[in-house]
């Protein structure tokens, strides 16, 4: 009886210790003691990345002169072509960017269509709870034409999505979704600039190297299985274009044109166009 009690107690102790240690942090076994001053540069043992929301980038581009061109966004009908989690996550990002683009340009019905598309796609990547719980369709319809309110609604959606992904250990999914959104936003930006050259838009396009490095870092960090090697390689090729800045950190017209070509090719691969 005593031996059985001790055995059970030992299991409880071990369980408690394992629970206390959590799933995310690795215990170190070293007993070296260091002062805080000695730590600063030598012992940063993890770099994390924060990625801007597709909405923020859409608003930046809008203020820089991104106008609406009909029919260049990804057709909602293509959703049925996305059968792998890889394609679904990337195109969730693509459609998010398209919805932001429509909202920024007061395309009410298009915005609602994209919301419906996102709801459908979110079921496939297990994010149904977010879309359902927020009553987004009603909120969007109630605020048609009110860009300010609509952007706050989208910011709320972003917050809910981040909470959901973090809470369910799906932070890596967020990086892929964002990559899709970023590629789509650059596709829209380079397209509009091709129609009518815009220095402010070129400035914002040039600045995107700030984000691209973080996207690549974030995807690499979560890609132990090498599932995203091709995407990383494509993004790194695009990143090389940003090495040709002039002294004002602006891309030349040739570099912007090259960026447009590469983005278009990568986007076509993602949306299946």
């Amino acid at each position: 009886m005593y031996k059985k009690t001790i055995k059970v107690a030992s299991i409880i102790v071990m369980s408690s210790l394992i629970y206390a240690c959590g799933g995310e942090e690795t215990l170190t076994e070293e007993v070296v003691i260091a002062s805080e001053e000695e730590v600063a540069e030598e012992n940063v043992n993890q770099i994390d990345y924060v990625l801007p929301s597709p909405l923020q980038i859409a608003e930046l581009f809008k203020r820089a002169g991104l106008t609406y061109i009909g029919d260049i966004t990804n057709s909602p009908e293509n959703i049925d072509n996305y059968n792998t989690k890889y394609d679904q996550k990337l195109n969730y990002g693509v459609y998010s960017a398209d919805m932001a683009y429509c909202i920024m340009n007061n395309q009410a019905q298009e915005s609602i269509n994209y919301l419906a598309t996102l709801s459908k796609l979110s079921e496939k990547i297990w994010m149904t709870d977010i879309m359902g719980s927020m009553g987004l369709t009603d909120r969007l319809e109630a605020n048609v034409g009110n860009e300010d309110s609509l952007t706050y609604i989208m910011a709320d959606l972003q917050m809910q999505m981040d909470d959901y992904l973090d809470g369910n250990g799906l932070g890596h999914t967020g990086s892929i979704i964002f990559a899709g959104a970023w590629i789509e936003t650059l596709y829209l930006g380079t397209n509009v600039n091709e129609n009518e050259r815009n220095k402010k838009l070129i400035s914002r396009l040039s600045e995107q190297s700030v984000v691209l490095g973080s996207i690549i870092g974030s995807i690499k960090q979560n890609d132990a299985e090498n599932d995203y090697a091709e995407l990383i390689s494509d993004l790194e090729n695009i990143n090389n274009i940003f090495n040709s800045y002039d002294e004002d950190f602006m891309l030349s017209d040739e570099a912007v044109s090259n960026l447009g070509i590469q983005i278009k090719a990568l986007r076509a691969k993602i949306v299946g166009a």
Binding site: V31, V39, S53, Q158, S214
Partner: protein, 149 residues
């Protein structure tokens, strides 16, 4: 019998302590506490929850935060999930860069958990956490939200 009782009491203590240290990090609640800090001028952009295990060696964690030129941002931090204070700094360049400059050093105050920082000039920034060494292992977390105008 006395030995078994004592053993069980130790086990119970360990269990209670382990559950208590883990309860420090309810990141959803910690983010909720931060959100009013965005109002009325800022919209939510992104967030990062950093979970730590304090141990006998001091540790560092760095978060790369891309910001766009000419835009206005607010960094919000919630330290309520920390069982022991950590050092929170914001730098202009990533760790190891020769021209890395300290832009902000969060001075934690007793009974205050929410802190904010508004950069005067927007550029890529690096939030750096230094987690001190401790004798008894602890777990906790730090929540950071970025807002933009």
């Amino acid at each position: 019998m006395k030995k078994v009782t004592a053993y069980l009491l130790i086990v119970l203590t360990f269990t209670l302590v382990s559950f208590q240290t883990e309860q420090n990090c309810d990141d959803t609640a910690l983010k909720e506490e931060l959100k009013p800090g965005l109002n009325p001028d800022y919209k939510y952009d992104s967030s990062k929850t950093s979970k730590f295990t304090y141990n006998k060696k001091a540790q560092g964690r760095e978060i790369e935060v891309p910001l766009f030129m000419g835009e206005d941002y607010i960094f919000l931090f919630n330290t309520n999930g920390l069982p022991k204070d950590i050092k929170i700094e914001i730098y202009s360049e990533k760790i190891g860069h020769k021209k890395r400059k300290l832009l902000y050093n969060l001075e934690q105050k007793y009974s205050q958990n929410i802190y904010s920082f508004k950069p005067t000039k927007s550029r890529k920034m690096y939030v750096n956490y230094t987690i001190p060494e401790v004798e008894e292992e602890l777990t906790g977390c730090m929540v950071f939200i970025l807002g933009y105008q």
